[in-house]
């Protein structure tokens, strides 16, 4: 479903001569229906890799194929392909000037995927699935962090995407709200949604993933089934990382 070939990306930081080489040749393939978690130390390129998948970051080198189309090609209308790739951000990024329902219906109606009536019905259905139906007409400023993130998830689902990208969906949450968001993601994954999840929740990654990628220093250092990677890591850096985060 998503295939990357030799992705390279560097950032030019202000005040520094040397660009920061964040991705150093990442080739990966996510199959339809697969749930892939990406773990690894901060600064290892996990989020940058994920953000490249829907071209929020544009790689300098390498190719990305989504459903057989090379989306790194400048001639491709990336907006059309993004409609099929839902994304959930660390800081929720819900739209504060729209109601909860308005957050969900804006894109499907604006991009002519649905009429306002259809979108409203779907929004109510989605909101009741994540326990937010009673908040439909509130503004997001009235929601807790966990509720905002659940809203952000259903906002992405309203476009009926083929794949969901999660960029540290629980890292900005208060500890007591992590569970409610992870439950929503677990429920979604059970429906067979292809998902790529960048996370620091090791237990969660182990439970939901078909495959876990360990990224460090701009490359995928190790990849494998969760039980193999967590119990019998092969790579020295994977071992070191896991020894620090699993206790």
């Amino acid at each position: 479903m998503i295939k990357t070939e030799n992705l390279h990306k560097s950032f030019h930081l202000e005040g520094k001569k040397e660009p920061l080489h964040v991705l150093r040749g990442v080739s990966e393939h996510v199959a339809k229906g697969e749930v892939v978690s990406i773990i690894g130390p901060s600064g290892g390129g996990k989020s940058t890799f994920l953000r490249c998948l829907n071209m929020l970051e544009i790689p300098e080198e390498g190719k990305i194929f989504f459903e057989g189309v090379e989306i790194t090609n400048a001639k491709v209308d990336i907006n059309l392909h993004r409609q099929k790739m839902g994304m959930v951000f660390q800081h929720f990024n819900v739209f504060p000037h729209l109601s909860v329902k308005g957050n969900i219906t804006l894109a499907p109606v604006l991009l002519k995927k649905k009429t306002q009536q259809e979108a409203d019905d779907m929004a109510m259905d989605l909101l009741s699935r994540v326990g937010l139906a009673d908040k439909a007409n509130e503004h997001p400023s009235r929601l807790s962090g966990g509720q905002k993130q659940r809203l952000a998830i259903v906002r992405a689902l309203a476009m009926e995407p083929d794949v969901m990208l999660f960029d540290e969906p629980t890292s900005a949450l208060d500890p007591e709200m992590v569970g409610e968001v992870l439950d929503v993601i677990k429920g979604l994954v059970k429906t067979g949604m292809t998902s790529v999840i960048v996370t620091h929740e090791m237990g969660f990654a182990r439970e939901v993933s078909d495959r876990v990628l360990f990224m460090d220093d701009g490359i995928i250092a190790e990849s494998g089934k969760p039980e193999d990677l967590f119990q019998h890591p092969q790579n020295a850096r994977t071992k070191e990382f896991l020894s620090k985060v699993l206790y």
């Binding site: 993004r82 409609q83 994304m87 800081h91 819900v94 894109a107 991009l111 952000a152 906002r155």
Partner: protein, 224 residues
């Protein structure tokens, strides 16, 4: 003291039309046109400033810096002498001076808009783009609505500033409130009394305006 008040009453009974209708009228007209046209042109300057095409950025930066770095009065002089030369037909002085006021205001408004747009979190743009919205759809539906709410207080201040700055246009006798002062003082030789009348009128105009803007802002906030 009593003498002052008697003089003010006398002046007002004789020249009320000059102050209240001509003066206040022209001041409001000039300010309204300046703010309206300045805001529209300001938005375009702002878009030019933020466009991907670099030379356009540089042109806008140059214009804004020159306008902000030179005195308003000088700009009015330039407008007063330059605009009639550029046009094939003759225009009233108030138009020449008005053009300078509009350009000045547009530059300040463009910076206000830019700061408002940049204050909207980048995550908002990313979220909108990730849903498949185009760059312009994102600007119109997500960024600008939030930006405008942010900048309303600053735009209101700009309006108040403009009302005060139109007084500089009296240098060219265009008929606004400060011109009324010059005319009536010239006829009566009662300088202090005339200044007091004009001062009170400017204050009332701006005080009422800023209160109205405050009500408007609170309404927008409650809709949040």
């Amino acid at each position: 003291m009593v003498e002052y008040f008697e003089n003010i009453v006398k002046i007002l009974s004789r020249y009320w039309y000059t102050f209240l209708v001509t003066g206040v009228g022209y001041t409001l007209l000039l300010s309204l046109i300046t703010v309206a046209a300045g805001s529209v042109i300001g938005v375009f300057l702002c878009l030019g400033r933020m466009a991907k095409f670099k030379p356009l950025n540089w042109i806008v930066i140059a214009i804004v810096e020159v306008v902000r770095g030179t005195p308003m009065l000088l700009q009015l002089y330039i407008g007063y002498f330059l605009v009639p030369k550029l046009l094939p037909f003759s225009v009233p002085d108030i138009v020449s001076v008005g053009v300078a006021l509009v350009i000045n205001s547009a530059c300040y408004v463009s910076e206000i808009f830019r700061s408002g747009i940049q204050a909207v979190d980048r995550g908002q743009t990313e979220a909108a783009r990730s849903l498949g919205l185009s760059g312009s759809e994102t600007m119109m539906r997500i960024v600008l609505p939030q930006a405008i709410k942010n900048i309303l207080p600053a735009l209101g201040n700009e309006f108040v500033t403009i009302i005060k700055e139109t007084s500089l246009a009296s240098t060219f006798f265009v008929g606004e409130l400060m011109t009324s002062y010059l005319i009536v003082k010239g006829n009566t030789y009662l300088t202090m009394e005339c200044l007091l009348i004009v001062g009170v009128l400017y204050f009332v105009l701006n005080f009422v305006l800023s209160k109205l803007l405050g009500v408007f802002e609170r309404r927008l906030k409650t809709s949040d």
